[in-house]
């Protein structure tokens, strides 16, 4: 089933999915915070585009609202908040040393392969052309988790968390043409509140620990 069989819209969705996967990889490799936030905003934009394309091709009008929400939240509100925070805490130039980048990139690739293998049985099921996107969305979620695990900066962990949310939204939109409206609204509300709480936490950690390095948070333990 090569790519020519799909209609133009489906081809567009597949390319957008590939681009989102690529942005996740970029996030993994990125060391400077500001560029990290910009790439995250780009991923939000790609997600919003995908939602719009699906809304028009399959006539799911309630998706338009969620596309608008994604645009508002993931492209403007959260990145701007993070940027303001980074500048106010003047950690712009902190270059964060990532474990060893090659190993993490290889891990990411393996994750994509694994998520493709894991979602294989589902592919035969769905008649939709966009059934491969489930594998991609699972890959984005797992890459988001990998990002959180591999980096020490609290802000990067938030970006990783938001990247996972993007993966989930992409799964909901691409695999099943969007969840019921009330669920979409609930999820969006939760993401918004989460973003606000992250902001509050940044200030608390900053005041108490003097830096946003997550490894300093290890007083509560049993190992002694």
């Amino acid at each position: 089933m090569d790519i020519t069989v799909f209609t133009l819209a489906e081809q567009l969705i597949l390319t957008l999915a590939a681009l989102m996967l690529f942005t996740s990889f970029l996030l993994l490799a990125q060391t400077r915070l500001l560029t990290l936030i910009h790439i995250f905003a780009l991923q939000g934009a790609l997600l919003c585009a995908t939602t719009l394309v699906i809304a028009f091709t399959y006539g799911r009008h309630h998706l338009l609202i969620s596309a608008a929400l994604t645009l508002g939240l993931k492209v403007f509100f959260i990145p701007i908040q993070l940027q303001k925070l980074v500048t106010s805490l003047d950690i712009k130039r902190e270059v964060e040393v990532v474990g060893n980048p090659t190993l993490i990139m290889l891990g990411g690739a393996a994750l994509v392969l694994f998520s493709y293998y894991a979602v294989l049985p589902i592919r035969e099921l769905s008649m939709l052309a966009t059934r491969n996107t489930i594998a991609i969305s699972l890959a984005i979620i797992l890459l988001g988790m990998l990002l959180i695990i591999s980096r020490r900066k609290a802000i990067v962990q938030v970006v990783g968390f938001m990247c996972m949310e993007n993966g989930l939204m992409f799964a909901a939109v691409a695999a099943t043409q969007g969840m019921p409206m009330v669920v979409e609204m609930g999820v969006a509300l939760d993401v918004l509140v989460a973003a606000i709480l992250f902001g509050i936490f940044f200030f608390q950690i900053r005041t108490e620990f003097g830096s946003l390095d997550v490894d300093k948070l290890n007083r509560l333990k049993e190992v002694d």
Binding site: I122, L125, A154, E165, T176, P180, G186, L197, Q204, L220
Partner: protein, 496 residues
């Protein structure tokens, strides 16, 4: 017709609206002296509404609102009742406790306002999670519960509490995201066979069509769900946030977190298991739950020996009991399910009573570290005896209800998996030794100089312990009836 709809479901809507309204009101006047009393008043009202709902369900069987949005059946009605009851008794304790904290300056006015509004918000999200029929809203409610309590865990602004809050937020956030992916997969499977996509996420509808769902997708979805909600239950490989979050927040918060929130997450997993079992046929979901349950039961039992903070110790005890209940649900079969449901009730009652006593003990000795808490019985007998009898009850010694459910679980395990009983036995003894090793020196012995009594309201603890004793000696028929209906729904056949 309009008021009839409203009147018939008034109890249901009231139970939900009251805490929501309470959250809104208390957001403004939570810091005043009457904040605690108002909080208690709203909780009492919620309890009365949920009691009325329970009576309705008792007479007319399960209720489902016309919009198919809310669904109350035998499985979640007594959990709703338990939720509001424990919320009420903890509110009785939280009023004077938080007033004391405010006096000694650990919490400022803004913190009090946040505390009281989030207290009600937390109760609202839990009741919503219990009563909603839509699995998506179930996820939103559980996520809402996490968000409501995150700030409360870091209320005291100490480095440890901020660290606990951050860990709680991030780990649960990541965990629950996976649950959302699982719910999406369930929705994906449901859309294949369901014509009307609006109804695809309604649990009652799905339960009716459970056999026709695609097994492989369901199994994959269950994996994501068990890892997602398992993080919220505190199953072992995913439990790391629980001891920090439960021990750093204010004690009433830990009481509710430990007592009720874990039950809600487990309720969600069992709701999904009820969908998956008919579709899959084999008991693979049960085996997964048994694996997780046994692992957390044994590991938490061992970790009890390492504790130096009293609230951390009891949160590990919660992990252990949650592991036991998950193991029981994993075994399936009528006896084990009946035991597990009874264990949920008895565990939350005992654990919230213990946390209330621990709160008072920490205030008497001005510390939470086990080594410095001494001579409780000599200083304040009711706190000392409350803690000792609570620990005896949670350890599963007979006259109390925990033994009844463990007795059922033991007899069920012997019938189906006789060799696992040895691990259960070892786990129980290790946990028992771990708990008592720490509690005994705290309770017995002479009190150190300068340790004085504090104003403590031990009525909630006494009420909880009496109920557990009553459940231990004779399970009332009303409750037994409900649990039995739920067992029939979950495992196919009842016990009575």
């Amino acid at each position: 017709m309009q008021n009839s709809i409203f009147s018939t479901y008034s109890a249901l809507y009231l139970t939900l609206l009251l805490p929501l309204a309470g959250a809104a009101i208390l957001a403004f006047c939570g810091h005043l002296r009457l904040g605690g009393k108002l909080n208690l008043l709203i909780c009492i009202a919620t309890f009365i509404a949920s009691f009325k709902l329970a009576v309705e369900v008792f007479y007319s069987g399960s209720i489902i609102t016309p919009s198919n949005f809310f669904y109350v059946d035998a499985f979640n009605v007594y959990l709703v009742l338990l939720n509001s009851f424990v919320g009420m008794t903890t509110a009785v304790f939280s009023g004077p406790y938080m007033a004391h904290e405010q006096e000694i300056g650990r919490v400022k006015n803004a913190g009090m306002r946040l505390y009281h509004s989030m207290y009600q918000g937390f109760l609202f999200t839990m009741l919503l999670a219990l009563m909603t029929n839509n699995l998506g809203i179930l996820w939103v409610a559980v996520e809402g519960a996490t968000l409501a309590t995150v700030l409360l865990v870091s209320l005291y602004r100490t480095p440890e509490s901020i660290e606990a809050g951050w860990k709680y937020f991030l780990i649960c956030g990541v965990g629950i995201a996976q649950a959302l992916f699982g719910t999406t997969l369930i929705y994906f499977a449901a859309v294949q066979i369901m014509p009307d996509s609006g109804q695809a996420l309604m649990w009652s509808v799905l339960y009716a069509h459970a056999a026709e769902l695609e097994p492989t997708v369901l199994l994959l979805a269950f994996v994501f769900l068990i890892v997602g909600y398992g993080t919220k239950i505190g199953l072992v490989p995913l439990h790391n946030w629980l001891p920090d979050a439960h021990s750093e927040g204010p004690t009433p918060m830990s009481a509710i977190l430990s007592g009720l929130l874990l039950n809600i997450a487990l309720y969600a997993v069992v709701r999904f298991k009820m969908l998956i079992d008919p579709a899959l046929g084999t008991n693979i979901a049960g085996h997964i739950m048994m694996g997780f349950g046994l692992l957390s039961f044994l590991v938490a039992g061992l970790l009890l020996h390492r504790q130096r903070d009293i609230k951390r110790m009891f949160s590990y005890s919660s992990i252990e009991h949650m592991g036991l209940i998950t193991f029981a649900f994993g075994i399936g079969g009528s006896l084990a399910t009946f035991g597990a449901l009874l264990h949920m009730i008895v565990h939350s009652l005992t654990k919230s009573a213990i946390f209330v006593t621990v709160g008072h003990a920490a205030q008497v000795c001005k510390t939470q570290s086990i080594d410095q808490i001494r001579g409780l019985i000599k200083t304040q007998p009711e706190v000392g005896w409350g803690l000792l009898i609570g620990t005896v009850a949670i350890a599963g010694l007979p006259p109390f209800g925990v033994f009844t459910s463990e007795f059922l679980l033991f007899s069920a395990t012997i019938k189906s998996y006789p060799w696992l009983v040895i691990t259960l036995l070892a786990g129980l003894s290790i946990a028992f030794a771990g708990l008592f090793r720490h509690v005994q020196p705290m309770v017995f012995g002479d009190c150190p100089k300068g340790q004085i009594r504090i104003k403590a309201n031990m009525w909630p603890v006494a009420l909880h312990l009496c109920i557990i004793l009553w459940l231990g000696i004779a399970v009332p028929d009303v409750l037994a009836g409900w649990i039995d209906q739920a067992t029939i729904m979950i495992s196919g056949k009842g016990v009575l």
